[in-house]
């Protein structure tokens, strides 16, 4: 939905109350729109990609019915995570409580679906009716041989970011560091935090890590296996890829397990190289660093050569960029790599640092989109008349109505864009998007104006 709050003088102090979150992340006002999802969704985003566990939603049909298998996280092994498991809370449960139903559901799943663990998501309704999800999980766990992990993330807690954080806490408290055996650090090993393997992103990065001799212990949580997550504390380095909301997780892992962390991005040639080099530096292995410097140069050259044809086609196109998190700044350099100018950039769900970084990378003449709502978005499209829009799926069909080529770079996309390999895919897809003949057709007046007929 679109809105223009600045004009309405609705920006009172109340809307700034989402503790710790910057203005860019501020809470939605009642009636302003429905761009934001909820804490529950935020927790699902982080935990759902764990492949070999069961994700049980203790809520009415809405929460699971509308969200089972709704993101493009991919698995190389178990597909159990896709199963839409819910207690489907009904009126009787609202009246009498849903704890018995929940416990029976947990036991049924453990018995018949062989999960490595069960994550149990509380929702608005289960919380308001007072079901003690923690207690039920604890009781069920006693009867089982697998962990049953409550995730207390009712949607009413607030925005998606809060749910991301809760999920991070859950992983830290209940999963990471629980593996039996050695706790020793594994040399040259890393975790990728906030990488969810959307469209198989991670598979475009792993070959490069392998070629350099870096071991990916696990992503948190793209294509993750539960056992690997339990040993995540053995990594030598945490690389925070997306979602600053998991900063709490990496900080805690640093304190408890002594794992240093760094930020990085695998979007675009420049950022991929920089991240690989920074990983090598952070792992403090001179030999690795040397190899990496040579390797990234080679990969950069190869990739640039491959995308040269696309670049020629995209050069000097004018774009509007609207995204969140790490992609905010990472996409700026990715688009620049293809010779695309950014007319305006905006962000949602990003931290001030992300935002600042984006601002610094953009041409000073580029406009910062202050009104990040759909109204602001439509207004800026009308003003700037960009050749393309790069943004998340929610604005896709709005953009299409303005006859502007659009590329979805969030979780609705179908193709992987991470790493050097992803850059080639990105360039290819963007070219097909921008140069599609349909845009030309849309721009023709019909019936033709008289002077054009002649």
């Amino acid at each position: 939905m679109f809105t223009n709050l600045t004009k309405l003088d609705l920006l009172d102090k109340k809307c700034m109350s989402d503790a710790g979150s910057p203005k860019l992340c501020m809470k939605a006002l009642p009636g302003e729109g429905a761009e934001r999802s909820c804490a529950y969704d935020g927790a699902r985003v982080v935990l759902m990609p764990i492949t070999d566990v069961a994700h049980l939603v203790h809520g009415p049909i809405a929460c699971a019915g509308n969200s089972w298998d709704n993101r493009g996280a991919r698995s190389s092994g178990s597909q159990l995570f896709r199963r839409g498991l819910t207690t489907d809370i009904m009126e009787n449960d609202v009246v009498y409580g849903g704890e018995t139903k929940l416990k029976e559901s947990i036991l049924e799943i453990a018995l018949r679906h062989t999960p490595k663990a069960i994550f149990v998501y509380a929702t608005c309704v289960s919380s308001v009716i007072g079901d003690d999800v923690n207690k039920v999980c604890e009781e069920a766990e006693k009867e089982l041989t697998i962990p049953v992990i409550p995730v207390n993330c009712p949607g009413f807690l607030g925005d998606k970011n809060i749910g991301n954080r809760i999920a991070g806490e859950v992983l830290f408290d209940r999963v990471i560091g629980t593996a039996e055996g050695s706790d020793e650090k594994i040399p040259l090993s890393i975790n990728l935090i906030g990488e969810y393997n959307i469209a198989g992103d991670i598979w475009g990065v792993i070959p490069d890590l392998q070629n350099l001799g870096i071991t990916l212990l696990t992503a948190i949580t793209g294509d993750a296996k539960f056992e690997d997550l339990r040993s995540a504390h053995r990594a030598s380095l945490n690389v925070l890829i997306c979602s600053k909301s998991l900063t709490n997780l990496v900080r805690k892992m640093e304190i408890k397990y002594g794992i240093p962390f760094m930020e990085g991005s695998f979007y675009g040639i420049h950022d991929t190289s920089e991240t690989l080099i920074n990983i090598a530096k952070a792992l403090k292995d001179p030999d690795l660093l040397e190899r990496t410097l040579v390797y990234v140069q080679k990969r950069e050259d190869e990739t640039r050569k491959t995308i040269a044809g696309y670049k020629a086609l995209l050069e000097n196109k004018q774009a509007i960029l609207f995204t969140g998190g790490v992609k905010t700044w990472s996409m700026v350099s990715t688009l620049a790599e293809l010779g695309i100018n950014i007319l305006a950039g905006g962000t949602q769900n990003s931290t001030p640092e992300d935002f600042q970084r984006m601002k610094e990378l953009m041409d000073p003449s580029a406009q910062i989109i202050e009104d990040t709502s759909s109204a602001g978005f439509l207004k800026i499209i009308a003003e700037k008349k960009p050749d393309l829009i790069v943004a998340g799926g929610k604005t896709k069909y709005l953009a299409h109505k303005t006859r502007t080529p659009f590329l979805d770079i969030n979780h609705g996309r179908k193709l992987p864009y991470a790493g050097y390999q992803g850059m080639i895919q990105f360039a290819e897809t963007l070219t097909r998007t921008v140069l599609s003949p349909v845009w030309g057709l849309l721009k023709q007046d019909f019936p033709p104006k008289e002077d054009e007929q002649a």
Binding site: M1, P30, I61, L102, E108, G393, K394
Partner: protein, 472 residues
């Protein structure tokens, strides 16, 4: 404790597991239903200038919007009043009042349709009283119509929410019925229908039959809006003048049975003549619709209609060998299932497994009598209130030739190695299916095309060289 190691994928395909699966009572796996407010939203978008407004948590609305947007590939306008933890404690009145104020100021709707999500219902928010207070406090103009519906998702499903919102909209917008002001219009209610082409087909047929009509609600131009270069927030819907006069209707014709019982009962109670037909899928279903309209107008059925009916029957004769005797599994909403089974029986197709997550006792009866009416219905079992995981067990233990249902069925179909023909909601992995009608005589042709050609694609893909040929 039972031996857990047995629970392998292969074991999930056994009859032994099927029995255990059907003994499952509490847990739901892969549900084939959405929630009440989603249906309410779909209904509200079918009224001119109407802004759908969720009173509840914001995440719910984000889900509805993304589900609908992925199905129709259109922007979906709606707002939420973003209830949070403190609203759960103190009630959602402040959110509702602020929300109405902001929404009205920002989006200038002609009508706001307020429906509730679970949280508001559990804490017992009195939206009617809150609305009164909102107007009292001048948060919105006193004459701004605001329709209300209670739509907790822990009761019923999306079709229940559609029904409640429809009643709420009529209650809010229509002036009382007056004996001397009865109009000449037939108000036609399509029901929870996610085929914009179905709605357009209804309108086309009704125009052909020269009947004064109002399609209520009509979201066809909202969910299938032309690309004219600018985004329209309110691209269409049932005109408000016709909404105002709804209770003075000469007649209300409901084209689904299970998605509107509350509204039809409400209208009957106000002495509005009401007729309810099954969703007109298949020849017999469409015949009843045409006959009903012809009876209303008192005119003969136009030749064009007879011509189109002839085309459909001709298509049936051309392709009967491809469907006659084939076994089908189906899942979906009650009205859609009645329609599809009607069609299959007409073609000699054998419905075998019918799964309905949002079944009701009246639906069970209606389906039983439909199946009993045909020799081709004898192999069928209706699995009421079961989910797609039950369906999976059925498909792998008692195989059929094809599955009919929405995109959620693709996992079960893949596990059973049978084709899925996508009919229903949501369809998020194919394009344009909502742009071809499945109702009416044209719908008969379209269904035949989809089903038959899918079978034939399978034949070609799997055929040995010896049997690969031009003619099928």
């Amino acid at each position: 404790m039972e031996n857990c190691t047995k629970a392998t994928t292969a074991w999930l395909n056994t009859v032994e597991y099927k029995e255990l699966n059907f003994a499952r009572e509490k847990l739901v796996i892969n549900p084939a239903k959405a929630c009440q407010p989603l249906g309410a939203l779909l209904c509200a978008l079918g009224v001119e200038g109407c802004l759908p407004f969720t009173h509840g948590s914001q995440g719910c609305t984000a889900y509805f919007r993304s589900t609908l947007s992925r199905h129709f590939r259109e922007p979906v306008a709606s707002v939420s009043d973003s209830m949070t933890e403190d609203s759960a404690v103190f009630g959602g009145q402040t959110n509702l009042i602020d929300g109405l104020k902001n929404a009205h100021a920002l989006y200038k709707p002609k009508v706001i349709a307020v429906y509730t999500s679970c949280m508001a219902e559990v804490i017992g928010d009195d939206i009617k009283a809150y609305l009164g207070n909102a107007k009292q406090a001048d948060a919105i103009p006193k004459d701004l119509p605001v329709a209300l519906a209670n739509t907790p998702s822990f009761k019923g499903s999306h079709i229940t929410g559609y029904d409640s919102m429809l009643k709420g909209l009529i209650e809010c917008l229509a002036t009382p019925r007056q004996a001397d002001k009865i109009n000449d219009r037939m108000y036609v209610v399509p029901g929870f229908d996610t085929y914009t082409a179905n709605l357009r087909e209804y309108k086309r047929i009704l125009k052909l039959m020269k009947v004064p009509f109002t399609l209520l609600p009509d979201n066809s131009d909202v969910f299938d809006a032309p690309n004219l270069g600018t985004y329209q927030l309110y691209p269409g819907g049932t005109p408000l003048t016709e909404m105002n006069d709804a209770l003075n209707a000469a007649k209300f014709l409901f084209l689904q049975t299970f998605s509107s019982p509350t509204t039809s009962k409400y209208l009957s109670g106000l002495d509005v003549p009401v007729e309810t037909l099954a969703m007109p899928i298949g020849i017999a279903g469409m015949d009843k619709f045409i006959e009903s309209v012809a009876k209303f107008t008192g005119a003969d059925v136009p030749e064009e209609i007879t011509f189109e009916r002839g085309l459909a029957i001709d298509a049936m004769t051309d392709s009967h060998p491809y469907i006659h005797g084939k076994k089908f599994a189906l899942f979906g909403d009650p009205d859609l299932l009645i329609g599809l089974v009607t069609f299959l029986l007409e073609m000699g197709g054998l419905p075998v497994h019918i799964v309905c997550t949002n079944s009701t006792p009246t639906f069970k009866k209606a389906m039983a009598s439909l199946l009993a009416s045909s020799p081709y219905g004898q192999e069928a079992t209706l699995y009421a209130n079961k989910d797609l995981w039950h369906l999976r067990s059925l498909l792998v233990t008692e195989p059929v030739d094809m599955l009919l249902g929405d995109s959620h069925g693709k996992w079960a179909a893949r596990d059973a190695n049978i084709p899925l023909v996508r009919i229903g909601f949501p369809i998020t992995d194919r394009v344009n299916l909502h742009r071809s009608p499945i109702i009416g005589y044209t719908g008969v042709i379209n269904l035949i095309t989809m089903i038959t050609n899918t079978f034939l694609d399978e034949v070609d893909r799997n055929s040995t060289e010896a049997h690969f040929e031009m003619m099928r």
